[in-house]
């Protein structure tokens, strides 16, 4: 390594992380003790992790606490992260495992999202919704949320990763440590149940 290369490396290591810095690069820096790089990762993934946890444990405040644990735990376990592999599945895996642990401790593997939480959250979406559509949209979304709420946690995890995070079946199967076939079955089953629920409400043509 020449002196110029070494100086370039030092300069790169000490620069502030930007939006274009990859997750893996940030994780690598965090591994070397750069806490600022880690806080950038937290900012990047807080929304995904909190929402994933919320779908899994069914309570917003619990989800916030669990998500905090997830990030602190990720920080403590950074030395186990292989920075040649993608960071996202690694973090999501910590999150889902943490949620399953919580559900197991609570002794309610079949925990459902409480009914009164759904409307409160739905009425305050974090993106703009056209008021004209809102009534119909809310109706559909409430039905979807109810259906998801009554699915077992593993189904909810699959649905969230698929439809909220837009992950591929392969990524989901790696994160949740289940065969791709099972992931697909879970999605199909959720679709069937939702189809039945929508039909029951007369919301299908």
């Amino acid at each position: 390594m020449t002196t110029t290369e070494a100086l370039a490396l030092i300069a790169r290591n000490r620069q502030t992380p930007s939006e274009t810095t990859s997750d893996e690069e940030l994780a690598r820096r965090a591994q070397r003790g750069d806490v600022h790089a880690f806080s950038t990762l937290v900012e990047r993934y807080q929304k995904s992790i909190v929402n994933l946890a919320y779908r899994l444990v069914g309570n917003w405040d619990t989800a916030l606490d669990i998500s905090q644990d997830v990030f602190v735990r990720a920080f403590q376990m950074l030395h186990t992260f292989d920075s040649r592999r993608p960071f996202k599945p690694w973090l999501y895996r910590i999150a889902t495992n943490r949620c399953y642990d919580y559900l197991r401790r609570q002794g309610r593997e079949k925990a459902i999202i409480s009914e009164e939480e759904i409307p409160a959250r739905i009425s305050s979406p974090d993106r703009f919704v056209d008021p004209e559509d809102q009534a119909i949209q809310n109706e559909i979304r409430q039905t979807v949320e109810r259906v998801i709420a009554h699915l077992p946690p593993r189904y909810r995890a699959v649905i969230t990763l698929r439809y909220l995070e837009g992950l591929t079946y392969k990524e989901i199967s790696e994160i949740l440590d289940m065969p791709i076939g099972t992931v697909k079955t879970h999605i199909h089953r959720a679709r069937d149940i939702l189809k039945a629920a929508l039909a029951e409400k007369g919301m299908l043509p």
Partner: protein, 195 residues
């Protein structure tokens, strides 16, 4: 194609999981079979509805709270890095040894015995240093060569080596790690927690 399409096939059609021929078969079937067309349409509606789920906004202070806990975590780099601490320990030992060596050499080279002597010697030393800086340099330079002590000759290089090694380790770590949490952000965090 005889009979209706299986539920499985419809799902796989929606997932884009079918081969080109299978897709053509499904298309031609739903074109002629109203029942299967409706089933596919309903599944599509369900898929569309599932895509409607949205995420909810996270409290603004979430990252701050996480980072506060990270800073208290036992693996926080500044408090836990063994490398840093080894470097510091080496430098600290080196400085101690250096002081011992200088005192030792100075004591032997001047041969005083009482406390009063020490004070006089000390005053003389500093008077000399202030009046004639070169003489002070002379004393320091001569410490390791003219002192009649083995300790001064062995301890002094050892002390300097320890300081250098500790400093080197510190420097390497400083270069390879980026700065720890910036002070201005840290201030914001503390204020945020009080408020």
């Amino acid at each position: 194609m005889n009979g209706h399409l299986s539920n499985e096939t419809l799902h796989r059609y929606l997932d884009g999981d079918l081969s080109w021929e299978e897709r053509q078969q499904v298309r031609s079937h739903v074109n002629t079979c109203a029942e299967c067309r409706q089933r596919l349409e309903h599944l599509r509606q369900a898929e569309y509805a599932l895509r409607q789920i949205t995420s909810f906004a996270v409290p603004a202070d979430f990252t701050e709270r996480v980072m506060k806990r990270v800073r208290q975590s036992p693996t926080y780099p500044w408090t836990s890095s063994s490398v840093t601490w080894i470097g510091r320990a080496l430098m600290f030992t080196g400085v101690l040894l250096l002081i011992v060596a200088i005192l030792e050499a100075w004591t032997l080279s001047t041969s005083f015995s009482t406390w009063h002597d020490i004070k006089v010697q000390w005053m003389t030393f500093w008077t000399n240093v202030l009046n004639d800086p070169e003489s002070a340099m002379y004393i320091l330079v001569n410490l390791d060569t003219s002192a009649e002590s083995d300790i001064a000759q062995t301890v002094l290089p050892l002390a300097l080596a320890l300081i250098a090694l500790g400093g080197f380790i510190h420097m390497v770590r400083w270069i390879t790690t980026a700065p720890t949490y910036p002070r201005h952000l840290s201030y914001t965090m503390d204020r945020g927690l009080q408020g």
